[in-house]
Symmetry: C2
Subunit: 139 residues, 2 copies
C-alpha cells in the first residue's frame, strides 16, 4: 500500500449549534463525506458529551476522518486524512457547508513522503474563507 | 469546555515490523499512551488490513489518538489531538519508543484559538530526531 497521503486539518466557526450537538446527524455526515471522497468506512467510534458536544472518528480504508464539536461556541475541529489517490478537500468542504460554517480555516499536510530512507510529512498550504469567499492562501 | 488544544502530527520510521502489524499490541499501546497523558479513553475503532497494516483510533475525553501502520516499510503515521491541559508530546514519545522508531518527525499544531470571533489553528513547530538525538527544530 502506498504511504503517501493528504491530511487536512480544518477549524470551522459560526456553525449551526443544533447540528453540532446532534450525534446521529454527525455520524451520518462523516460517513457520507467519506463516501463522497470514494473512501470505504471500516469502523466508527462516537461519543456524546454532557452537557453538550460530540467527538467522532471514522476509520476508513484510506486512513481516518474525525470531528470534535463545541456547540456552545459554534465551533468544530476536524481532520481528514486519506491515502492513495483520494482527495479529502471536497469531503471537508461538504462537511463545512452541511454544518453551515461561516468561516473555514484549512491546512493541508502531506504525509508519508519517502526522503532518504525516512518517511516524513510537510505542511503544504493554509487557506481561509468566509461564507464561501477565499480570504487568503498561504504560503 | 475549553476549545484550545494541541494536535501533534508524527511520522515515525525504522520501526519494529512485527509490532506494526500487531493489532492487539497497538490497541493496548494507544490506550496506555492515552492513560500516560491522563486522558480518558471513551471508545476505540481498529482495523487490520490484508495482507498487513493496522489503522486505529481512540476517542478520548480530550479529543483523539490515531495510528496507521505500514509494516512493509517500518513506517507509521500518528496524530494525537488533546484539549485542555493535557500535553500529548510525552504520549507521542512513548509510542515512538515502544515501536522502536529510529527516526521521528513531529509537528505541533495549536487548535481552537479564538481570534476576532473565529476559531483557528496555527502550526507551532516541527522537530526531527534520530535515535533520540534531535536533528533540527523549527522554526
Amino acid at each position: 500500500m502506498r504511504t503517501e497521503g493528504k491530511h487536512v486539518i480544518m477549524d470551522i466557526s459560526g456553525c449551526n449549534l443544533d447540528l453540532l450537538n446532534n450525534l446521529t446527524f454527525l455520524k451520518k455526515l462523516l460517513v457520507e463525506a467519506a463516501e463522497r471522497a470514494n473512501a470505504t468506512v471500516l469502523n466508527v467510534a462516537f461519543h456524546h458529551f454532557t452537557p453538550q458536544g460530540v467527538s467522532g472518528v471514522a476509520v476508513i480504508s484510506e486512513s481516518h476522518l474525525s470531528i470534535h464539536t463545541w456547540p456552545e461556541y459554534g465551533y468544530a475541529a476536524l481532520d481528514f486524512y486519506t491515502c492513495g489517490d483520494i482527495d479529502p478537500k471536497a469531503a471537508c468542504k461538504f462537511v463545512a457547508d452541511s454544518l453551515e460554517a461561516s468561516h473555514i480555516q484549512t491546512t493541508v499536510v502531506s504525509r508519508g513522503e519517502k526522503i532518504k530512507g525516512k518517511y516524513l510529512h510537510r505542511v503544504e498550504s493554509t487557506s481561509s474563507e468566509r461564507n464561501g469567499k477565499e480570504l487568503s492562501l498561504l504560503p
